[in-house]
Amino acid sequence: MSFDPVPYNLFQGVSTWLQVMGLGLLLVVVTTLAGSLGYGLKGPVLWFWGVIGAIKDVSEISARRIWALAMLTAREAIRRKALLVFGVFALLFMFGSWFLSSPGEKADIQIQRHVVFVFTAISWLVLPVVLMLSCWGIPEDIKARSMHTVVTKPVRRIEIVLGRMLGFSLIATLVVALMAVAGYIWIDRQVSQDAHGQLVCKVPVYGKLAFLDRQGQPASAGINVGDVWTFRSYIEGSTKACAIWEFERLGDSSLMALPATKDRETTRGLRVQTGFESFRTHKGLMSSGLLCQLTLVNPSTNLRVPLPAFEVAEYRGDANVTPIPASLTYYDSEARKNKTVDLLKDVIADGRLKIEARCLNGEQFLGMARPDMFIRTADRSFAVGFFKAITGVWLQALVIVMIGVAASCFLKGPVATLMTFAVLIVGQSFRGLIDKIVSGDQLGGGPLESIYRMVTHLNQTVELDLSKSVTGTIKWTDWISQQGIWLVQQTFPNFGYFGMSPYVAKGFDVDFRAAIVPSVAVALAYFIPCVLLGYFALKLRELESK
């Protein structure tokens, strides 16, 4: 896989959310309380009763009223021809295959193309529609004065906000669900028969990765062979260099049926899949891939069981599966005889297993990253991964609805649209850049330093050629703007979590802890602030002001 599905730290996420939320609330309390002092002593009293009223509103929320408002909102969205989006969707899918398929295409490439197309089409169609609907609903109601008839009914403002959110979410759910089903059927029909076998969801068990250098000493990483992409690091062939994966929680349930080969009948065992990259310093034997050997190591007894070497088939996913039968026969070079061991009893210790990978070709290198070796448990149906990944699009649409509705409670339609769109663009496209700037990994400094470097054509890696005081001033000014970007990083949603299509495109099941948990957490994290913001904004808003 070309990315590392690192499990999301939910505890850290929740604590950060509590800190930001607490700080935000404190800020609001302090500023509004200070502002209320403008009305004299009466101000804080009014403020206090306002808060009490809000608590009362929250405690008396009626599900029936919210549902009624939601139904009203959904009907209004349908009346505004939101479902016309299906027409565009149908057109795309009718003609998409014209330019997506080409004869002789590799199976994995074919699958990736179709999956990426379906997810891109669904996202690009659904998100703008829900964005427009949620941002224009309340402002249009206020303009048309239909809001007046609602607020004069025994309906609380918080129920209007929640009803709106629920109504638009229902529309988003309906649209995403129908498109997902259509998309799934379309992929199933479009992918050629010979590629159909690869239309599955692999369920990987990942381990921890460590390296030994060419002298056999522990190293933090392998060798950098000069690849711009530093995702993988490399081990040198015919030396003591190796990469060691340590797996945990393995047991009888990890074993699965292995198909019969010429040497053995059908048996049970582990399937280890690798995805190493080759780097050659000379052409060597061009017709064959580089040789790699895996050695199983018992972490407690240090029993070493070498497996037969295999040729690395670069970027060919399923071609690199090593079956390890439950009963293993290997040649013990010290005892100079064949030995048979039981995988579960002799090699795996308390569910733990180490696997060492070595390159056997001298002066050649194999590149490795943590997700490049995993234990492949029973595959799941493609549908499982596909619909899990669709929840990403769905949750993203819900977050857009929440932000859009909240924004529309205090802004007019066009401004709310622009604001929500900006949040979407920043959260989706600029997240990587923001993270780099905040972490200090971005070369070239902040805005002022970058401007200076661009104007003077100064390389990003060269120190600034200015006096200490000027450099200090530039750095300090940039630090201030960096704090602003930090604030954006902390408050804008990270839409990157919702992009789960790469898992399915690469033939993997969507990782629960690395993808589902953070995306649900982000959606929930924005729910409370958006509802509160919408509620207070609508409560304080002068409805007569169009």
Partner: protein
Amino acid sequence: MNNLSSRQRKLVYLAVIVILLIPIIWLGRPTSGTGATRDQGKLAQLRTRYDLGENQLGQVDPTSAAMNLVLLGFRGIAADLMWSQADDNETTKNWAELRSNVDTIIMLQPHFVRVWQFQGWNLAYNVSAAWDLVADRFFWVKEGAKFLKKGRAINEKVAQLPYEEGRILGSKMGRADEWKYFRQFFKKDPNEELYKGLADPELNPKGTDNYLAAKDVYLVANDLQQKFPNTISMLDVLFRSYPYRSQLSYADALQREGHFDDSSRVAWEQSYREWVENFGQEKFYGPAGAYHLEMTERDMQEAAEGQGTDVEEFTHWVLRMQNETRFPYWKFRAQAESAQLMVDAHRLIYDGEKQFVQGKLSTARDSLLRGMTMYEQLFSKFPVLATDDEALEESITAVYYWQRILKLEFKPIPAQYPLSVVYANHSNLLPVIESRFKRDTGQD
């Protein structure tokens, strides 16, 4: 703001719309279909006059046309974003998305020739090199060629694109380190499941040699160059030499693969005829007047006098163009390669190298020595061979193998042996030969 009622305002809008529509309709009237320009709108007339219509540039891709229409004026921005993404895909080795993004870029800019050129080359040279297995590399080389083939269908008036396609089919497949595999794969695709042991019909419908397929594409390029001379980016005399160079490379490749029978001799004879009689007789226009490459000094003098130009200047330019195309060298080479002595020398050296790999040292030694002796005779018979890199490499490689055998047999290398002078004078070639020896034999 004003005193107009809502209805009045709408009527004013309607009137403005109608007034604006008149020039738009007049300017944008479609083509008449009969070709009579007087019946066409102004824009259609200009399109016809300057060959700017989509259908006049090549086949119209409906998806591409629709996409550009939908994007209004934003296709430049969209193309920039796609380029950036494609670049990122290549860095992160995300090949499927790279291919999709390249296709999208092309849909956005179907007539931007540089894009076709760059991306075709990128797929065939850079992306293919990023893969380890030869069959995978071949797949991407084919992708590059297919991409350019698609490009020339959409840009039917650009000679450079078939030339680039020919370069991938010919030079890339025939000269890469993996050439032995690529040439075989071109006739028998490694994807046996799909192509059933035959060639990929999209690139090689005749199932022919890669150099001959390249020759066909180069000939298409030459036809286009004649009609649209400004669509190439090199000297016309060089550009037009490629179909004939491809034929020469074909004959050469047969020998490299050990075909020393009639097929290679016939190929060399055909190469000679085409080089001298076809390409050599083509008329070109240089700074000093019209000329063709198959000219003796006397021909040049007569031609210069006939055109009333300075003989010295005319001769200078013709000789310069002959050198640019290596016309005399290839003429001589095709002639020499047809000689039996040359064929025998090649065969003996080829056999000797093969026998060395098989461990038949004494047979290999004899074959190589006889080949070296023949080569020495050829060097004295055709002195121009001493300037031919390939002949030098082949002869010095033979000596290198022969010396290795003597070392393995613990025999001394005599002070004098066939090709000893050539070997001593071109020792700079040894590092390349050593690395090739290591690769071909697996020995240090």
